[in-house]
């Protein structure tokens, strides 16, 4: 879980104080790579999972219907992952918590479908795309648990909290 405001390390607070005082500019705050990779890995995982489900359960569907479903998956990603990710850079740690919840749900869904494709021979689910989806979303979730990711969230939260009058 993310750190409460009193638990951020003093070094991070000093860094934020220096930035707000204009003594220092941080172009890439700590944990930036973990944050970006977790966003993009989650995107790839969601797209592959969506594509696999659409083609498994919509075999007889028209092409236009499949296009609509693919666009819907992208728009859903935009609303539940990308937008909260942008809110994290505005200093809202609850948005990061929301992204983590969504990541857990996607990991559980792709994992369950992967196991189903393995155990149930008659299923139309494809093993390899589900495996790729599970691996990428699990990697994204792992990155969200690293200390660097927490530093990233903490940096922007402290910057917002301290810059308020």
């Amino acid at each position: 879980m993310f750190m409460m405001k009193d638990q951020y390390p003093p070094a991070l607070e000093r860094l934020v104080d220096e930035v707000l005082a204009g003594e220092r500019i941080i172009l890439l705050p700590p944990g930036w790579l973990s944050f970006i990779l977790s966003q993009l890995l989650l995107l790839v995982g969601c797209v592959v999972l969506g594509g696999s489900l659409i083609n498994s359960f919509g075999t007889d569907a028209a092409v236009t219907e499949k296009v609509s479903w693919q666009i819907a998956v992208l728009l859903m990603y935009l609303m539940v992952v990308l937008l909260p990710g942008l809110l994290v850079t505005k200093g809202l740690p609850r948005a990061a918590l929301w992204v983590r919840v969504v990541s857990i749900c996607v990991v559980l869904l792709s994992g369950a479908l992967l196991i189903t494709s393995l155990l149930w021979e008659e299923s139309t689910l494809s093993f390899k795309p589900l495996l790729l989806s599970t691996v990428t979303t699990t990697s994204a979730l792992f990155l969200q648990h690293t200390s660097y990711y927490q530093l990233f969230v903490g940096f922007f939260w402290l910057k917002r909290h301290k810059s308020r009058p």
């Binding site: 750190m3 638990q7 390390p9 070094a11 991070l12 860094l15 707000l20 005082a21 204009g22 220092r24 500019i25 941080i26 172009l27 890439l28 705050p29 700590p30 930036w32 944050f35 970006i36 993009l40 995107l43 790839v44 969601c46 797209v47 592959v48 594509g51 696999s52 083609n55 075999t59 007889d60 569907a61 028209a62 092409v63 236009t64 499949k66 296009v67 693919q70 998956v73 992208l74 990603y77 935009l78 990308l82 937008l83 942008l86 850079t89 494809s126 390899k128 795309p129 790729l132 691996v135 990428t136 699990t138 990697s139 200390s147 660097y148 530093l151 940096f155 922007f156 910057k159 810059s163």
Partner: protein
Amino acid sequence: MANMADETQPLNFFERLDEQVLCTNVDKIPGLKNARIVYFDGKNLIEIRGHSPPSLASRRTVVISPTGVGDRHLNQEKKVGNDRDGRFLVELGGAALSCGAAFFSWVVVIGSGAAAPISGGTSAAVTVLAWSAAGATSLQCGNSVYRAFNETEYGDQAINDYLDSEQWYQSTTTALDVISVLGVVASAGATLRVVLNLKKASSKSFKEILKGLNRHERKRLTEEIIRSQNPGISNKTLKALVRSGAYPARYSQLILTQSLKLQLKDAVGAALSFSGSATTGVIRRVYVGVIEELETLDVRN
């Protein structure tokens, strides 16, 4: 096409074909579910299974024919999906470029947010442009990954063909590209303005102003977090925690055309009975192919 056996008596070969087994096995092949299946003996075209409701598979016909029984076009080897192999690599390259652009766009968005002016935030216009750039490039990345997925045996190639023929799709991708470029330029410009203003206001050099976190500072921050989450932790345990870690494995790309050929061979082979040829010693050779309908034209006299 896969060469299987040579049958001197075409009608006898057809009688040995188990239609139910053939249809079931063909349905298991990705992209050929509910496809039309016909048998051609050189004179007669026998429909084993007819057209299905409109879908990708309904545009494809599996043809089974003994060799040397008429139409020479059936003897020409035609690799299924050969012209799509290059498409997959192109789409994969496009996905790599789009996702790389998304990565760079996020870097700029984060950088503009971190290097905000002392007042506490960037201007609303820059924020909107930066967020738009991150969103547009991420959507482009997702779209490119989808296109690459559609070119695999697990996807539907007809989707990419449909999208390429639609004007709204071309316009949307162009608009996303424009938004991405504008957003990145605006964010980078805002960051550069902050750096230049700070340079004017202080006597520090660019190197000192842009001094980010060095390795020692990152390590110290990490250790402080670990200590705050584990009160009373020893230095030895702390170092052991820092050294541990694990990463997922990488997976290689499939060879699609060969896989499809093998599956089709197996499907037809399972539906045939070779007990007769084994006892009589007759060599059997059958061509198996897939024809995809590109367009249906009405010709009126």
